[in-house]
Subunit: 365 residues, 2 copies
Amino acid sequence: MTNHLIIGMPKEQIPTPSLILDLDIFEANLYAMAKLFTGQVKLRPHIKTHKCPVIAHLQVKAGAIGITCAKLSEAEVMVGHGITDILIANQVAGYGKAERLGALATRVDVKVAVDNPANVDDLDRGARMFGAQIGVVIEVNVGNDRCGTRSMEQTLELAKHIATKKGLIFKGLMGYEGHCVFTADKKERTGECLSANKILVDSAQMLRDNGFKVEIVSAGGTGTYDMSGIYPGITEVEAGSYVFMDSCYSGILGNDVFRPSLRLLATVISKPQPGLALIDAGMKSLTFEFGKPQPLLQGATLTGLSEEHGRLELTPEADTLQVGDLVEIWPTHGCTTVNLHDRYCVVKENRLVAVWEIACRGMSQ
Amino acid sequence: MTNHLIIGMPKEQIPTPSLILDLDIFEANLYAMAKLFTGQVKLRPHIKTHKCPVIAHLQVKAGAIGITCAKLSEAEVMVGHGITDILIANQVAGYGKAERLGALATRVDVKVAVDNPANVDDLDRGARMFGAQIGVVIEVNVGNDRCGTRSMEQTLELAKHIATKKGLIFKGLMGYEGHCVFTADKKERTGECLSANKILVDSAQMLRDNGFKVEIVSAGGTGTYDMSGIYPGITEVEAGSYVFMDSCYSGILGNDVFRPSLRLLATVISKPQPGLALIDAGMKSLTFEFGKPQPLLQGATLTGLSEEHGRLELTPEADTLQVGDLVEIWPTHGCTTVNLHDRYCVVKENRLVAVWEIACRGMSQ
């Protein structure tokens, strides 16, 4: 299939619905975050947000020590595109997965989160099948109550278990303070985040006291980069959403440091009555778990999403919209929105300057 | 990328998360619906549900007169896979779209919904560029209040306008009773549906009274196939979800005629505390606009979805789940769930018998 895109075309000629990435704003975000992590604490951005090898390489070139992935299949695609230092921040389990991870570890520096001894045994088997070594970090529950060890004792036992495995190298700890990245009040968010960081750093100290070398202590998202990123003992930060700044994160952080770079371009396909327009973007182009995304058009509100329709209710001032007119929508959640699309139309001064493949789209295995 | 699939492998070895299609149940659904449309009213199944050329061909082979698509790009992919009779049941508007539709019309019988005179002009231009003719059906609002003409007068005016266009052939009408397909009470649903059908059929009669040939009167979804499908004057029905029967439609229709054929296979990746398991499927593998999908496991409830995690809360009887165990999930909304995946793992007697590409995934343009 042709994608109907020609470098140099005006933005207005890009077929809709399409994801539009403003190159200047994106680059400003990229360098603004990189600048904050030139000291002891390193940036290992989470690529689940953008799922794009081009962006991953730009992040590494800007100073990131590697990338964070959510899934093995994301890591496989990124390795296929030349990325060589990866933390898979989730547990990898299930038939055939340990073998795939072991095979990957023969070629690149890959690390994976663990929280379970049987899973550790399985990964060790996968690594030894290839004579490789997989790096492992223990995921510690820091209050998010999802995966992760539930106590210092569990963390210590698991570290001791890992130490017996020839196919694994114990690298350190990770903890994701997902329960506080969306806390709106900054003071409250800071308090929650510091408590979470403390659990993680205390666990690292406990392991060191027990003779373990703890190289990695990984934490932080875009909502907490400036807290976890300066907490003594944290070694790397996993923030990723800063490249796009969806409306959810912008609502929490403001746009002083990072600005919104991602838009969905849509077209009005029906104008059936006064005050109402339908656009060609619905639930298959936009996600809404953090609220319905809003058009960048004074007087227009997105009030409904069918699979392939968006319902725009219009005040009289916006009611001049016609069939064929373009509307830009600001995603509420970049990470899931991107997972619906195959490419970014990268735009500079309203012209298409590049097309970047979202090569990890759908890579949930 | 390899997809790690080998025909003949046991279902338990399919990498997760993966969409699993039970071939026997799927085929039973396919033929059960086909059998109902061997008379005057024809089936033109909506492929937005499955987005899969293999399934489209099986539907046509079973008796469907063609397919319904939501988007131009879906139609382009289906034409590329050999489908030759397509109704695009949405308006097609925006830069370059009329040309693409005109080009398609040189090769196959393609029809598109219209509800706006300026859009009609644009489509006519696209068709004449190639010396082609695009079929058009007027979308009539039958109570769904989305797209569609709002009155008999509008419908008549638009038909007259279409008649002046050499690049277009007026084919008839379509109306989608989307406002009643999910009405739980069958009697109430029937009443709403018949009112909607009446608007459409009366509009067709009005056009015939004004000298127009009305070949197509298209309506109906899986929630109303047995109402619209027998309403005098309706010529074709667009039902599509019957092939999978997600839990939403099963809740409305029961499973006497059609049975659930689609599952998401997932793996437990963490079992951090009693009563809780995390699976490797979240919002990037499952949709939840019709409610959180539920595991087919007594005592397990999916209570939360992160991007790549599903949170299973377990009663004591289900608390034997271990890391690495498989869990099958019944999607609540097949159409949007399928749009997250690249292929169906087609299973018969618990072995992989085929891999069907979801070639129209992401085809929202």
